[in-house]
């Protein structure tokens, strides 16, 4: 089970950007979603999402809006900006290249 420290640096950013690319989500939902989709393999230490979210917000890749949840509570919802969408494409492409290269190295004997 991978802890966040084991995640390649910058990978958390990619995961967050990807997770909110379809619809705005609050922090807890982002953590849950990453866990679910990765089949519980990626156990992001939930709290470490927040420094990442705030950093991405300062870079204007994501924007935040306070809104009501289904249960009627106020929560901070994050969504992608145009710049964030471009960044997601760049990082996703980088990741594909990197993981493909590592795969080749690992599988070649």
């Amino acid at each position: 089970m991978a802890k966040p420290n084991d995640l390649v640096q910058g990978t958390l950013d990619l995961l967050v950007l990807k997770t909110i690319s379809l619809e705005p989500k609050h922090g807890w939902a982002i953590a849950k979603r990453i866990q679910q989709i990765s089949g519980e393999v990626l156990q992001v230490q939930q709290g470490s999402l927040y420094p990442a979210l705030h950093r991405l917000e300062q870079k204007a890749w994501i924007k935040a809006k306070w809104a009501e949840t289904e249960t009627g509570r106020q929560a901070k919802f994050y969504s992608l900006t145009a710049a964030g969408r471009a960044q997601l494409e760049r990082e996703a492409a980088n990741w594909s290249r990197l993981s493909a290269a590592i795969n080749i190295v690992v599988q070649t004997t």
């Binding site: 922090g27 230490q45 705030h54 300062q58 204007a60 901070k76 900006t81």
Partner: protein
Amino acid sequence: MVWARRLRLRLQTLFRRNRIAQRLDVEIQFHLEQQIAENIATGMSREEARYAALRTFGNPTILKEESRDTWGWLRLEQMGQDLRYAFRTLRKSGGFTATAIFTLALGIGANPAIFQLLDAVRLRSLPVSTPQSLALVQIKGGNHGFGISNRETSLTYPLFEQLRAHQELFSGIFAWSGSDEVAVGQGSQQRRGRALWLYASEQSHG
């Protein structure tokens, strides 16, 4: 307009820091409560659910700190903390603070006072129309053999008269000499003092 948005965010994190910090507290509180509710739904007791939520979350205080660090202005914040700390410390030791402030005040006050004096005496030009054209006439190499004194600027009156009559360098020339004590005024208003005799040609500005 990414840079405009970034600038706005930077200004917000500078001027509305406390408000944003409060909102971060609310945000993290909401997260923990969501997790606690989920844990309770899986059959944990309230207490268990709270501990489990904190375990999966990590240390909220440290994570809040890390989030704040991404807002920038870290140097400024630290400087503010240092200043506040300095003020607190100074307030606690009144005698030391008073002495330090007094010493500084004395030093700062003495500087302009001394400068003002020097400025008035040495730096400011003389109150005449073209101070740069004023010159002091003296006999090069001293005044030996002219019978007055060894001061280079000391001339006898006949010598001054010759200078005044024949010099062509200046528009005018004047000389001065000190007097013995003289009485000025009459009766009870009379004061004694030293006077300065001035000998000038009509054109001189002095």
